[in-house]
Amino acid sequence: MTTTTTLRPGRRTPDSHGYPTRSYDLVKEFVLALGLMTALSLVLAGIFSSPDDPSITMSGWAKADPADVVATAAGELAGTTTSATYGAPYNHASEGQSVLGLQLQKWGGVGVPVDSADLVLQPLRGVTGDPRTSLALAAWDALPASAQTAAATAYADALAKAPDGDPAQVPAGRYGPLPAMTAAFLRLAQGGGLEGSLTSSGTFYGGDQTRSMLLLSDGAYLEDTAVADHLGGDQWGMMNEVGNYPGQPWMWLYTFWYQVKPFSTSENADAQVWMLMMGLTLALILLPWIPGLRSIPRWIPVHRLIWREHYRRQRT
């Protein structure tokens, strides 16, 4: 039971149970509220439905943008893709993001180890009955690691300079088995052989899409598709979803910081925004004990509107 409480020296909040009362049917109020929310949900669902754009499949990606698949495969083998250079939790390739000198990303450790080259090699090694693929893999395996990287990097660079990234227009060079390997990877993807091949570690059930998603994200096709649907990071994409659906408007403040400097141009934007949001959330939680902030409701008298009947009765 509440008793009088000191708000600050000389001021006590009275006990709510000491006020005059009126009849109030809580259960009826709840039942009506439940009926209203159920009816509104049903009506909105009936009118507006919900978005369900199909996921991008590996074969869909390979058919829509084959050059992107080839470039991504070459990049994975060269170790130049986003995932290959990511750092924790996938590998030790970089220090990752930091904020105020705190290397939070690195401190998390490599808990989800991913070898980006394996995103290409593992599916290729599963191919049987294709002598071209077998020969290319044998040639790759025969190369020392430095030569593998050099060949893959040279091919990735050449693809980047080729018109439209078209492998057919790449000039001759010292690419080793890379053209054959990436071509085999593209054939595998277009034929549907990549679906599910990266979702588990040799187990029948594959519920973990980490490696598939990293491969897809390393290409340009996923982001190009999202940007075309106004879902880019600089398009408030984190809180939106496809079409004109409301998405997650409650994440507006988190998304907002990505749109403005210094976060929009910072290499550590994610860590900075997260730390900022955690600080703001903590301030919101502890607001009752923060001088100044807790007094705003007294300074801006919105409460005069909320309790206008009570104040009117007091005046009379």
């Binding site: 409480t5 708000l7 001021r11 909040t13 009275p14 709510s16 149970h17 009362t21 009126r22 009849s23 049917d25 809580l26 709840f30 509220a33 439940l34 209203l36 929310m37 159920t38 949900s41 909105l44 669902a45 009936g46 507006f48 439905s49 919900s50 369900d52 924790a88 939790p89 990752g96 939070l104 990303q105 998390g108 450790g109 490599v110 989800v112 519920g207 973990d208 899409q209 998603m213 897809l216 994409g237 984190m238 979803e241 409301p246 997650q248 408007p249 409650w250 550590n268 994610d270 860590a271 997260w274 807790r294 409701p297 007294r298 801006i300 008298p301 409460h303 909320i306 309790w307 009947e309």
Partner: protein
């Protein structure tokens, strides 16, 4: 003829728990049929609307769970239930945000109600997590894009090893078990605190202590 005094179970753990519960929220405060006269504004409705919204969210989620994670992609009924789930979430958040703002302008943390405010904000944050993991488990283009973007934020603060947004199996468990449980427990605590302390009195009614 003498009669034995009624056995009240004094000294037992059960009696202790019962006494503790009745002291925490007396029965007449748990479901009162009267409220202070100053409780007379539409803003008060948004608290119970938020609770009702949460029940519709959970209820539609339970129906979805009967069909499984991908049922709604292949069934028109499943798609409709998913739409109800989506819109109930939108309504739930809309009501919760209005409720939160209303309580802010009432300075509703006054009079030993600080923990009520804290549980309300924590419930809001946990609800954001629950909704977010829902978007990750849709198994469509939205979840591909959102998870691909969100991983950078989660990984940047070093928790990606334990909370892998690219793993829909893990996210589904968080979405349908851990986070709803957290939101539900916090919501119950929040409501019990509201009932225990009563609705905060109007600003300006403070008594000057001698």
């Amino acid at each position: 003829m003498s009669t034995a005094p009624p056995d009240t179970g004094g000294g037992t753990w059960t009696a202790g728990l019962r006494d503790r519960l009745s002291r925490t929220v007396p029965a007449d405060q748990l479901l009162p049929d009267r409220q202070p006269a100053y409780v007379a504004s539409w803003i008060y409705v948004f608290g119970v609307l938020t609770l009702a919204g949460l029940i519709v969210v959970v209820g539609s989620g339970l129906v979805l769970s009967f069909g499984g994670a991908i049922w709604w992609h292949t069934s028109s009924l499943g798609h409709f239930v998913n739409s109800v789930h989506l819109w109930s979430v939108e309504l739930f958040f809309a009501c919760m945000v209005i409720h939160l703002w209303g309580k802010f302008w009432m300075a509703a943390w006054r009079g030993h109600r600080g923990l009520t405010w804290v549980t309300g904000v924590v419930a809001f944050v946990a609800s954001i997590g629950a909704a977010f993991t829902g978007y990750l488990t849709q198994s469509n283009f939205d979840s591909q894009w959102i998870s691909g973007e969100a991983k950078d934020g989660i990984n940047s603060i070093g928790v990606g090893s334990w909370f892998n947004v690219l793993n829909p199996g893990q996210m589904l468990m968080w979405h349908i078990v851990l986070l709803p449980l957290a939101v539900g427990v916090i919501a119950v605590l929040h409501i019990l605190m509201v009932r225990r302390h009563g609705v905060v009195p109007p600003l300006g009614d403070e008594e000057v202590s001698s």
